[in-house]
């Protein structure tokens, strides 16, 4: 096995730094430009972490975001990840800057980890190339922008490296692996973690040629212990997602309708030639490029022919590279009938299988470089060049839909054949038929040829990354004012226009009559205003059904409140403000006043409910009266009850979901749900205070037992592990 020598460190560091610099492209070039996405990052990560910080600062676990959609759980929300490693940055700097720093650091360390990984198999420059190809594959590169995905390759690679380390003692390896698994789980979306598990389990098995040795066993035991230790969180997530509006939602299938389009999408980014309003990551997600695919296939053939000599590498490429990549392709585009997969994006399998497919690419380059294979290497390179050139010739007849693609694709496909032509001109054609030419001591151009072909292929592969980088980084817009996936101006991270948020009273509730993707309801938290529309992975199905049945909402990217207005119900939900995209005559006829507006740019109008409802109210003599003596705390609300003459009913405008704990004067009580699903608590004249706290989904005893047992087992394993036994014996 090759080892990473310290004299190679500067080159690896250079590659890692260049990746970080590239990830900060517009951050460096344009003023007030930061690296964040105006959708998931702003609407979810910044909002969720803001609430999480408040809870943690108060010494509580961040269990619920009261400001989102009548209370949305936080721990089960895979887009917040309050305990992620990358969440630390948000404690020290503003959120847009924190995200920019995270991308820079994660890009840097991921590149380094990947280089060390590939260096086990290849020469330094091939290792660096494979690292770049893995990191800048559209899937991982696109999602490096997102808080809940960006650390996936980093932890995955670290785990593989620790697993296979020969230098670490048993105790160190177990401890590091356990910590890495836990950090992986809490730093990356659970869906991605679960996809990575087969790769993590299979890596050593296949690398060791199907041998299950003590390393494999100990690694598997640690994985199981880590899974057990995170079982409470997994259980909570499972309970929340099973009742979420996301179940059965299938946005990932049918994007590329037939196998033809699916195949072409591998060769050229779909956004350049496909209709159906492809946008977002679907415009680039499936792109691998012809150059990469042919290099991978060529590498696979090289490994296949040498499989007896290097079975482990062959198995890694085949079982962890090609097989899962092909399966994921089939399921992604044709799996809408499979309920287990139809709400998930199966191309995420490629994030991990790519690493092993790149082993094939690296093997091909190694084959080309190997001076002992001079003749075969040259032949392979010429064949590869011709294979790249043929599609260019056949495209007009075979794929007329690719007429208008970028010229860059054509140039990179023609580059190798062009270089072959140059090579043939500059060297003697006769020399190509001389085999072997290994004993000459004279330095001729031919002695460099093996690497020349490999370098040409490498250049081609790097050039094939450019369309991905161009689209994802938004290079062609040449500014930061048009927000794109990777960069935006700092003000896009906040509720805009600001003066509209300032016009709303803190701890009151608003609803925007606008698609939730704009994030007004979510970003209202920065002004301590509670939002009503739904946009979260764990938005509750039951609540949506209630609102839908009452005809209060329009379904669009989850849902938002919309006319025709039912004013009594809006007041019952505590909705004091409505943010509309323009004038609303129905509201104006019913005495809703415009308290703020933005006529210049957006046309937004903020209407105030004449009832000025509070999120807390109580029943008095048959009428509902607002109650303002309350304080919101992390995970709950404390209310000072009014003086009443007889038994009364308190209503709190939070969704009465499982997990709330209700206390009246310190004693636990039962609650009820209103017609609209809100919390209702009866109270007596002598009651003084009500405390409502969200404790999360109740975790069953057996889950807690598994957690404690796993921690105990891990500690025991470390204590009684082989190192200690050897030292005891001596």
């Amino acid at each position: 096995m090759r080892r990473f020598w310290w004299e190679e460190t500067p080159y690896a560091l250079y590659a890692a730094i260049s990746v970080s610099v590239l990830l900060c492209l517009k951050f460096i070039l344009f003023d007030d430009c930061f690296g964040f996405d105006t959708n998931d990052d702003v609407n979810h990560t910044f909002v969720g972490l803001h609430v999480a910080k408040q809870a943690l600062s108060a010494g509580e676990l961040p269990r619920i975001n009261l400001f989102n959609n009548f209370g949305t759980p936080l721990i089960g929300d895979a887009q917040t990840l309050p305990f992620a490693l990358q969440s630390l940055t948000y404690w020290f700097v503003d959120y847009p800057l924190a995200m920019s720093i995270n991308r820079l650091l994660i890009g840097f360390f991921t590149t380094l980890a990947l280089v060390i990984f590939f260096r086990q198999f290849f020469d330094p420059w091939i290792a660096i190339l494979c690292s770049l190809l893995t990191l800048f594959a559209p899937g991982p590169f696109w999602t490096l922008a997102h808080h809940h995905y960006q650390a996936s390759l980093l932890f995955f690679t670290l785990i593989l490296l620790i697993q296979s380390s020969q230098k670490l003692t048993f105790r160190w390896r177990c401890a590091l692996l356990f910590v890495c698994y836990i950090m992986f789980y809490y730093s990356v979306s659970i869906h991605v973690v679960s996809i990575s598990i087969p790769f993590i389990v299979g890596y050593l098995v296949f690398k060791n040629n199907w041998r299950v040795n003590k390393h494999v066993l100990s690694n598997t035991v640690i994985l199981i212990l880590a899974a057990a230790a995170t079982l409470p969180a997994t259980y909570e997530f499972k309970e929340l997602i099973s009742v979420s509006t996301r179940m059965g939602w299938s946005p990932y299938s049918g994007i590329l309708p037939t196998i033809r389009e699916q195949f072409l999408g591998l060769l050229i980014p779909p956004g350049e030639w496909m209709y159906f309003g492809i946008n977002g990551h679907f415009s680039i997600n499936t792109y691998f490029s012809i150059a990469l695919i042919f290099a991978a296939i060529a590498g696979f053939l090289v490994l296949l022919s040498n499989r007896r000599k290097n079975t482990g590498l062959f198995l890694l490429v085949f079982m962890l590279g090609f097989v899962p990549a092909t399966l994921a392709f089939g399921i992604q585009f044709n799996g809408e009938r499979m309920s287990l997969f139809n709400s998930v994006d199966m191309t995420r399998v490629w994030w991990f299988s790519n690493m092993f497919v790149m082993l094939a690419v690296g093997s091909f380059l190694k084959f080309l470089c190997d001076s002992r294979e001079g003749y075969h290497g040259r032949l392979a390179f010429i064949t590869y060049s011709v294979c790249l050139f043929v599609p260019v010739m056949l495209q007009p007849s075979l794929a007329p839909e690719l007429d208008n693609i970028g010229e860059w694709h054509i140039i990179l496909l023609m580059l190798p054949i062009f270089l072959v032509g140059l090579w043939l001109i500059s060297t003697n054609i006769k020399s190509l038929t001389m085999y072997p030419r290994v004993h000459t001591r004279k330095k001729t151009f031919l002695q460099f040829n093996p690497a020349f072909g490999a370098m040409c292929v490498a250049f081609c592969l790097i050039l094939s990354l450019v369309p991905t980088m161009n689209i994802i980084l938004g290079a062609s817009s040449k500014n930061c004012s048009v927000p794109n996936h990777y960069f935006a101006l700092s003000n896009k991270a906040t509720f805009q226009p600001n003066h509209i948020l300032d016009a709303m009273k803190p701890y009151s509730r608003m609803a925007s009559v606008i698609s939730p993707v704009r994030g007004f309801d979510l970003k209202a938290v920065f002004g301590d205003v509670l939002g009503s529309n739904a946009r979260a992975l764990v938005a509750n199905q039951r609540l949506r059904r209630i609102f839908e049945k009452q005809r209060l909402i329009q379904i669009d990217d989850t849902y938002f409140f919309s006319p025709p207005w039912q004013f009594d119900k809006l007041s019952a939900l505590g909705i004091r403000y409505l943010l509309t995209p323009g004038p609303d005559k129905s509201l104006e006829k019913n005495n809703w006043k415009v308290v703020s507006q933005d006529t210049q740019r957006t046309g937004l109008k903020l209407y105030e409910n004449p009832d000025q409802p509070s999120i807390v109210r109580y029943k008095h003599k048959g009428r509902w009266l607002n109650l303002h003596n309350f304080s919101l705390r992390p995970n709950g609300i404390s209310i000072e009850l009014p003086n009443v003459e007889k038994a009364s009913l308190l209503q709190i405008a939070f969704f009465n979901r499982e997990g709330w704990l209700f206390n009246v004067d310190g004693e636990k009580v039962e609650s009820y749900s209103s017609d609209l699903g809100m919390i209702e608590i009866p109270f007596m004249p002598d009651n003084k205070t009500v405390e409502v706290v969200y404790r999360g989904i109740p975790i069953p005893l057996w889950v807690r037992a598994v957690f404690y047992l796993s921690v105990f087992a891990f500690v025991s394993l470390l204590w009684l592990g082989p190192s200690r036994r050897r030292s005891d014996a001596s």
Partner: protein, 175 residues
């Protein structure tokens, strides 16, 4: 590290640096690199109606009539369109005429005049001028016009001038 490996690594990193540098230069606007312009396909596929066991769809400037049971065919695959009896017209009504006639080759078809006025494209059949909502180049979709459905043709005059007057009098505006 062997000298040859060092050399190869440096060459490779130099190339990579050049690519990164190119992206910086292009993004900054200092130099416009035409090769780094990757055209993005524009326009959504709109389902307009079902007619005589045919789905009438709009995409960009075209209206296509696809017989039931035929899977998606990319609009640029002209030969495939002919093979599958998929007709391409310039308006919804023209597509229906093609379906009625059972052929794309009608005696009279709408010809684009390359004139757009008030978000309406002018087309000609014989001596008559028809209008169809023009395509917004930004989105690739027809401009939304009050009271005028996307892809619908309207007879707007016997000459271009008359058509312009018709547009002025009706005050057609897009949203």
């Amino acid at each position: 590290m062997q000298a040859s490996q060092t050399k190869l690594t440096i060459i490779f990193l130099a190339f990579w640096t050049a690519v990164v540098g190119l992206l910086f230069v292009h993004t900054s606007g200092i130099v416009h690199v035409p090769l780094l312009t990757f055209p993005q396909a524009r326009g959504n596929l709109f389902f307009l109606q079902e007619y005589e066991k045919t789905n009438i769809l709009g995409i960009g400037e075209k209206v296509i009539a696809i017989p039931h049971g035929i899977p998606f065919v990319h609009p640029k695959r002209v030969k495939k369109f002919q093979k599958e009896n998929i007709f391409v017209g310039a308006s919804r009504q023209e597509a229906k005429r093609m379906v009625d006639a059972g052929t794309q080759d009608l005696d009279e078809v709408l010809y684009r005049l390359n004139i757009e006025y008030k978000s309406v494209a002018f087309l000609r059949i014989g001596k008559d001028i028809y209008g169809v909502p023009a395509i917004d180049q930004e989105s690739g979709n027809p401009f939304p016009i009050d009271g005028w459905n996307q892809y619908d043709e309207k007879l707007i005059g016997a000459s271009v001038e008359e058509a312009r007057r018709y547009m002025d009098e009706r005050n057609w505006t897009s949203n």
